[in-house]
């Protein structure tokens, strides 16, 4: 089971990421302890030179983590045909207790990596390495998270057993299921649509405002996280119904399947990119007071907020288009 190209790619990506972060960890500790930009000592100059190498290494790790999420979901969906009872990624992820934790951990690392990349980006825009300690401290904090992803993936992929009868998405995302997924699926379409359009509209407005006025960075991050939740809820509650043209099929994973033209990717890719950009815009706000970043932070966060606004707007447009072109009639008259 483990010898699937996607699984090998995912495990390799995680292994390489952990190995690279482990290799960078002693350097990060040295930077945190000994960095002194005022000094011309041999050690300081060596740290300055090596920071390029380790920053590039870490950017590669973080970029790998961004791509890994997409591959993880794609793989989970693709493998569904191998398990009895699995109709989509939900069945595959339910084969053992590590599937969903692995997905959630990968998503968390995705957003943390986005925040780190935003911090690293502004640091490289200043001549005096103002955030070098912060970003290497964050790197040390990220190491356990990336290691956790590797651990969960190993547990998940090594314990995939083809003879396990798994449950399909219908049992997890139905109106009768107890828990958050059931509650969201049970939301009536009109309030669900209202929450979706108002929530997404607010997030777009806040991000666009910051893009122009550059004074609401933290709010953009909060609005982006909220918009992410609202969008997932909207997909569960009504968008999926219109895609499947079925009033009771709420699965947020089946929309990724080829039978539905992989339409889910049209929603999820801009949603994840927008949320990551929004979180990035917020993550760099604490550093706007630093002299060498006074101009950089507003400019970069405005650009990130514009990406967030555009991404969320795309989600709304795509979702609306999916609703309008559907043959399903949920709302009368």
């Amino acid at each position: 089971m483990i010898f699937q190209p996607a699984i090998i790619a995912l495990l390799s990506a995680s292994l390489v990421s952990v190995a690279m972060l482990l290799a960078a960890a002693p350097f990060a500790a040295q930077v945190i302890r000994h960095w002194d930009i005022a000094s011309g000592s041999e050690r300081q100059l060596r740290l300055e030179r090596r920071t390029y190498l380790f920053s590039t290494l870490t950017v590669f790790v973080m970029a790998t983590q961004l791509a890994a999420l997409l591959l993880f979901v794609f793989n989970a969906d693709k493998m569904s045909e191998m398990f009895v009872g699995a109709m989509c990624a939900v069945g595959t992820l339910n084969v053992n207790p590590y599937g969903f934790p692995a997905l959630i951990a990968q998503m968390t690392v995705f957003f943390l990596a986005a925040a780190w990349l935003a911090i690293n980006h502004i640091d490289t825009r200043a001549p005096d390495y103002p955030l070098v300690r912060v970003k290497y401290g964050a790197l040390l904090a990220l190491l356990p998270a990336v290691a956790l992803v590797l651990g969960l993936q190993l547990e998940y992929f090594l314990n995939l057993e083809a003879d396990v009868i798994t449950s399909c998405c219908g049992s997890l995302f139905s109106e009768d299921t107890k828990g958050l997924s059931g509650d969201l699926a049970a939301l009536p379409p009109v309030p669900a649509m209202a929450i979706f359009y108002v929530g997404m509209g607010a997030a777009i407005a806040i991000a666009a405002w910051h893009g122009l006025r550059r004074n609401a960075g933290y709010l953009v991050a909060l609005a982006s996280i909220a918009a992410f939740a609202v969008a997932i809820a909207g997909i569960l509650a009504f968008v999926s119904l219109y895609i499947y043209e079925h009033p009771h099929h709420h699965c947020p994973f089946c929309i990724l399947k080829p039978e539905y033209g992989h339409q889910g990717y049209l929603l999820y890719v801009p949603l994840f990119v927008a949320t990551a950009a929004g979180i990035g815009a917020g993550a760099i706000q604490p550093f706007r007071g630093i002299a060498s970043l006074r101009e950089v932070v507003p400019r970069v966060s405005a650009r990130l907020a514009t990406v967030a606004a555009t991404g969320f707007a795309l989600v709304v447009v795509v979702a609306t288009w999916m609703v309008l072109r559907s043959n399903l009639i949920l709302l009368e008259g």
């Binding site: 930009i37 011309g40 041999e42 300081q44 300055e48």
Partner: protein, 224 residues
Amino acid sequence: MIELRDVRKVFNEGQHNEYAALSGISLTIEPHRVTALRGPSGSGKTTLLTLIGCLARPTSGRVSLHGRDISGLPERFLTEIRRKTFGFVFQQFNLIKGMSALENIMLPAYPTGRPHKELKARAGSLLERLRLSHRGGAKVEWLSGGEQQRVAIARALINDPEVLIADEPTANLDTALAKEFLALLERFGEEGRTVILTSHDPLVVESAAVHRVVDMRDGQIVSE
């Protein structure tokens, strides 16, 4: 003003062939003056020039320009400083064969995004100033040593740098051409340009065009 504080440069550090090219150099180079670094081969003159011109980083110590540390700057900022602040004349001139003198002169200005017409006019006026107008279209490999050197000088001046750095500028020239170079040096001095050059040619270091001579030996400053 360029200031060096306790600068060391070690090559092949930690290897069996470790070599300390510079040891504890502290030096202040005043603006608008012609400074010559004099010393025998292996004294560290060229290494010092590369550190001042941001072509290499010191092993320890700092180099600052107008009070701003330039030895520790991230690469993206160094590129800008190299392009705008320093003009380089290399010992072997390092002109690009197959290209004309005019094209060679214009080359360092392309990344600045200035309009081609403006660049061509600037390169033309530099050629005229260096009495090379008639050779602008000639491929550099067809030029004599003296002409090649003047093209190299024009190329170093295309971005109007504050500091002109020249490594052994007369090493490949005969006495007549070396005197021509000294005349140019005198003009740069009169214009108030900062010039830093290395030389062990008495014709250069003892000339009136040079305001200050710094003697080096074994990677250290021995006298001024």
